[in-house]
């Protein structure tokens, strides 16, 4: 029963995506369109993968370490930054945020089973 329903959901989603794709093709054929900016899907996929990986590793590495890695990865993916900028940002967005939220706002971010 459940698999039948999930199949229906998948088919519906597939049809929506197909419809959207076909619409976008029709739109791209219009002659007076302003040329769209080039989109680098590989970058988007990498960014998505980095966030997904962050969700997986954060229970093990804790917020501080995992956020440092995520910020580093994101800045490398975006590009146009120097190594010292990456280092400063990675440090600034991990330890201080964790301590600020815990000390001032009493909001506790996840601590890891390996690094604490």
């Amino acid at each position: 029963m459940l698999s039948q329903k999930s199949n229906q959901v998948l088919v519906s989603l597939y049809m929506i995506v197909c419809n959207s794709l076909s619409n976008s093709k029709i739109n791209s054929l219009e002659p007076n369109d302003i040329p769209q900016e080039e989109t680098r899907y590989s970058r988007i996929f990498l960014a998505f993968f980095a966030v997904a990986l962050w969700i997986v590793v954060v229970p093990y590495l804790g917020f501080n370490i995992s956020m440092m890695l995520l910020v580093t990865a994101t800045m490398i993916i975006i590009g146009h930054c120097r190594w010292w900028q990456i280092a400063i940002m990675a440090l600034a967005l991990s330890f201080p945020i964790n301590h600020l939220l815990a000390a001032v706002l009493k909001v506790y971010l996840p601590s890891g089973s390996i690094f604490g």
Binding site: I16, V17, S20, L21, N23, S24, N27, E37, E38, T39, R40, Y41, R43, I44, A47, F48, V51, A52, W54, I55, V58, P59, M67, L70, V71, T74, M75, I77, I78, G79, H80, C81, Q85, M89, L93, I97, L101, L105, K106, V107, Y108, L109, P110
Partner: protein, 501 residues
């Protein structure tokens, strides 16, 4: 009344209480501006600090947090396309396009002034019309609430942009998301996939973080690096001035009144008020085509309505003991903790305290204005930070915000999934506004409709035999069909004129 009013002024203007307002508004502004940290959370965290204070001072502190927190949701909505509170979602529709055009300070300025005016008008309504408006609140049962929220759903047609079918698909998807979680009447889990987290439904803030912020981050990352930042503007060349709001005074007044009327009805809140006010502003605007593309009028309408709700929500809370929303419920709790029982007798027995609350609302909005003036110039500099620095900061805020809502990584997963959905919507030009409206109003529509049908033993006639409900349905029909009728009438008139010529 006069002696209570004098007592209120003398209490609010004590330096200790003024300091509490300043501290409260500052806390509210920080919580409201950070996505994921809600005004409810701010009021809840501040509540324990009020236990040792006199009742007046405690309520004054909470008022400051509430007013500023409600306003500050617009800051992140305008600057980084992430509404700090659900009621700021409509602000993001026009605020963020303005930021993209390099007019962020203008948008922030209009947002601040509209919020302050909305808050002040709401506070005046609380002072003069509280008992009268409380009677209106009592007239709202499930049938009326359904008619009101259903009317709210008709806005979808106006915010669908170029393609109505795409808008409807987006809205239907939103309604589907709104059904996730335990059934509000029968208690049966729906689309929860046996996940405990989904029993409570998909979190609104997590969805907004995904749809608005993470989707925009993906969008910016996907573009070429040189294009992946906003227009740089000389922020110092512009100032926050009252002049920006002058052309929109009528919109602000109208939206504030909408906010007050909706705020008085328990169980509705700022989101529906801002949507209805936005829709009304668009309908009556001379430039409706600019809405959704960067209209200052849209920002003014949304912000004045959601701040118009603030004091109005307390009207049923103070006069009837019925909290209008979560924050009002916390206010109710604070009053009870201090040994005060809300209800009509509170005005008789504790008139001084009641007027202190009302005056503190006015004072909180004034303090918020001056704090906002100082803070906004700094907030505005955010848009001039290079994308390689700004995007990781926003991403961190999003992930932290999505985590803190439920204190679990499930919120982050939901935000990431909706980030992908939001990015697909940007790429295929599906408007996100109908989906947001449907997610916010879907639950309310369903719950109130089913409650009404239980009361009427399943007869839908309950919606048409009660005057307020019938009036809202008539308004829904009018708003939906009047543009079509008008269009046909103009067309017919045009044809007649051509024939005559």
């Amino acid at each position: 009344m006069i002696e209570n009013f004098y007592y209120a002024i003398s209490t609010v203007f004590l330096w200790q209480n003024l300091l509490l307002i300043v501290v409260g508004t500052a806390i509210g502004m920080v919580f409201g501006a950070l996505p994921g940290l809600t005004v409810t959370l701010a009021v809840t965290l501040v509540l324990p600090f009020t236990f040792d204070l006199p009742p007046e001072s405690g309520i004054i502190l909470l008022t400051g947090v509430y007013c500023a927190g409600t306003y500050a949701g617009s800051i992140s909505a305008i600057l980084i396309n992430t509404p700090g509170t659900p009621s700021s979602a409509a602000t993001a529709w026009d605020g963020y396009p303005l930021t993209k055009q390099g007019r962020s300070l203008e948008a922030l300025s209009v947002g601040l002034h509209a919020s302050v005016l909305g808050g002040l008008i709401s506070a005046v309504a609380l002072i003069f019309f509280a008992p009268m408006l409380a009677k209106t609140a009592l007239a709202f049962g499930p049938a009326e609430r359904f008619a009101l929220t259903f009317f709210g759903l008709t806005i979808i047609a106006r915010v669908s942009g170029k393609s109505l079918p795409k808008g409807l698909i987006s809205a239907l998807f939103g309604l589907l998301i709104a059904t996730v979680g335990v059934d509000p009447i029968m208690g049966v889990p729906r689309f929860s996939f046996n996940t405990f987290y989904l029993y409570g439904g998909v979190g609104m803030i997590e969805v907004f973080i995904g749809i608005f912020a993470i989707a925009e981050i993906f969008n910016q990352i996907g573009k070429r690096a040189e294009a992946a930042h906003h227009k740089k503007i000389d922020s110092q060349a512009k100032r926050i001035r009252w002049k920006d709001i002058v052309p929109h005074y009528w919109t602000v007044l109208k939206s504030s009144v909408i906010g007050i009327i909706i705020g008085v009805v328990p169980g509705t809140g700022g989101s529906i008020a801002s949507f209805i006010a936005y829709d009304e502003a668009k309908r009556s605007s001379k430039e409706p085509e600019t809405f959704g593309k960067g209209s200052l009028e849209g920002v003014a309408a949304s912000e004045s309505a959601n701040n118009g709700v603030t004091a109005a929500t307390l009207i049923p809370t103070l006069t009837l003991g019925i909290p209008g929303n979560t924050v009002a419920a916390i206010f109710l709790g604070a009053l009870l903790i201090h040994g005060l029982t809300p209800g009509p007798q509170l005005f008789v027995n504790q008139g001084g305290l009641m007027y202190t609350i009302m005056v503190s609302f006015i004072m909180a909005n004034i303090v918020m204005y001056f704090q906002g003036r100082v803070a906004l110039k700094w907030f505005d500099k955010i848009v001039n930070i290079p994308a390689s620095i700004l995007l990781p900061i926003i991403l961190t805020m999003c992930l932290v915000g999505a985590y803190t809502i439920s204190n679990s990584l499930n919120g982050v997963i939901v935000a990431l999934i909706f980030g992908c959905v939001g990015y697909a919507m940007i790429k295929f030009e599906y408007p996100s506004a109908p989906m947001v409206i449907a997610i916010i109003l879907g639950g309310m529509v369903e719950e109130s409709m089913r409650q009404a049908l239980i009361l009427s033993d399943g007869s839908p006639m309950i919606f048409f035999t009660r005057p307020i409900s019938l009036a809202f349905f008539a308004l829904t029909v009018f708003v939906t069909f009047s543009p079509i009728v008008l269009k046909l009438w103009r067309k017919a008139k045009g044809n007649t004129d051509t024939k005559d010529a």
